[in-house]
């Protein structure tokens, strides 16, 4: 137990901050994922074949390639790509992007592919009559989407989005390979310096279980809220 003490003698406070870091990365990645999903869902549902192709390419590639490989691509390729863009504007110094941004971007793009599939499924399962009724009532496209389709879609999407959240939360453990100090990395450091890997990795597992448990409880509440009237 003294290994978990707060302060200089134990790893309690370090692991606490690492847990906050995991939560921060997960939320950022999830939001980046939503942003990607908002771009690619319309592409997948579009009537144009080329746009379909772009949308399908994104979801197929990301869901078919290991997360770790995507993270390596960002970790090793991220600053190179930024430097290339900067060189076009005449800036040739070395640019290092911070691990938090690279990590959240990599996990965000992965989570975005799953969110896209969830949104696509949810929109497709809304009754066609709803679109037609909105049109007949003379509601403009913007109103149709935000006031009629989105609220109905969210109700259908929330159970599946909670799966995406779980996947995203667990995927953040992989960013530890880039050196960002989240739960996994902190446990690795602690295990290395105390030579007690069994304890620290088991504790990391408990922290992840706690995070998934708490987030499930919160999402269930959200689900109830959005299912009012059904």
């Amino acid at each position: 137990m003294e290994l978990l003490a707060f302060g200089k003698t134990g790893w309690g406070d370090e692991l606490f901050y690492a847990t906050l870091m995991t939560i921060a990365v997960s939320i950022t990645a999830m939001l980046i994922g939503f942003f990607f999903a908002l771009i690619f869902t319309p592409l997948k549902l579009s009537k144009y074949k080329t746009l379909n192709l772009v949308g399908n390419f994104y979801t197929t590639v990301i869901r078919g390639v290991p997360e770790l490989l995507v993270i390596y691509l960002f970790f090793f390729g991220g600053s190179g790509a930024i430097m290339y863009v900067a060189s076009i504007f005449g800036y040739y110094e070395y640019i290092e992007i911070n691990a938090f941004i690279t990590g959240s971007m990599a996990i965000g793009i992965i989570s975005g592919a799953y969110s896209t599939e969830v949104f696509r499924g949810a929109i497709q399962s809304i009754d066609k009559g709803q679109f037609e009724a909105a049109k007949v009532l003379g509601i403009n496209k913007f109103g149709q989407f935000y006031k009629i389709i989105l609220p109905q879609m969210l109700r259908l999407a929330i159970p599946n989005l909670s799966n995406v959240w779980q996947i995203t939360l667990k995927d953040t453990s992989l960013i530890s390979v880039t050196g960002l100090v989240e739960i996994m990395r902190q446990s690795y450091i602690a295990a290395g310096s105390t030579r007690d890997p069994l304890f620290f990795y088991s504790f990391a597992a408990v922290l992840y279980l706690l995070l998934t448990y708490v987030s499930m409880k919160l999402i269930n509440k959200l689900e109830v809220k959005y299912s009012r009237g059904y």
């Binding site: 290991p66 490989l69 090793f76 030579r195 990391a204 597992a205």
Partner: protein, 224 residues
């Protein structure tokens, strides 16, 4: 684009794919039995057995695979007693540690898939078997299991693909699988995009094959 690098790294990456496939097939093989075992426990009416099986699947589905590998590879070696038993012959090898972790992980997901498949079998089918005087054991092995396997094919196909992606984590415990070799080439040449295209292409090809194989099986064993 460095096409020469893409061509020269292809044979190395294909060689590493063999390791990936070995890890995948071994863990799927053991995982299927483990999953079936725990799915049967989940259907047991005894609350302790039931809760035990639920706890297993909850823990392995609620924690990242990386943690599971690290506990088995780095953690178990710390227990002095284990080092004296024959188990140490297995646990000191990263290859077997990875397979154990993958097996336990895929077993948890498979048990959930099979459990829900067992629960969706219509009671009428079992009753029909009983009224024909078939013993409970034969009903289970000859009627329930084949139907459950057919029902769970689509979900199990997804699990195979997820597990294939999961095997990439073997590279974190020093194994040179497809991702491990890809990382090695990237870190020595600093050409991430080229290597990503080749390695990613190999993974996508495997996903494609698995996807179509499952589709074929689904069609072959469909009820119609």
């Amino acid at each position: 684009m460095d096409f020469d690098l893409m061509i020269t790294s292809l044979p190395k990456l294909l060689g590493a794919t063999v390791v990936t496939l070995k890890l995948l097939s071994a863990s799927l093989f053991f995982g299927l039995f483990l999953g079936l075992f725990f799915a049967i426990l989940r259907l047991n009416k005894n609350i302790f057995i039931n809760k035990f099986a639920y706890g297993y699947s909850y823990i392995f589905r609620g924690t990242p695979l990386l943690v599971q590998i690290f506990i088995i590879y780095f953690g178990l070696g710390q227990i002095e007693y284990l080092r004296t038993t024959f188990l140490w012959l297995i646990l000191k090898e990263p290859y077997w540690c990875a397979i154990i972790a993958f097996t336990l992980n895929t077993g948890a997901y498979t048990s959930e898939i099979l459990r829900s498949a067992f629960q969706t079998i219509k009671p009428g089918i079992i009753e029909a078997g009983k009224s024909l005087g078939i013993s409970n054991k034969i009903i289970f092995y000859k009627i329930q299991i084949p139907i459950a396997i057919r029902q769970s094919l689509p979900a199990y196909g997804n699990e195979i693909i997820l597990m294939m992606k999961g095997t990439s984590l073997a590279s974190t415990v020093t194994l040179m699988d497809l991702t491990g070799v890809a990382k090695y080439i990237i870190s020595t040449t600093f050409k991430p995009i080229e290597v990503f295209i080749v390695a990613g292409g190999i993974y996508l090809f495997m996903t494609f094959i698995i996807h179509n194989l499952i589709k074929f099986l689904e069609k072959k064993y469909s009820f119609q």
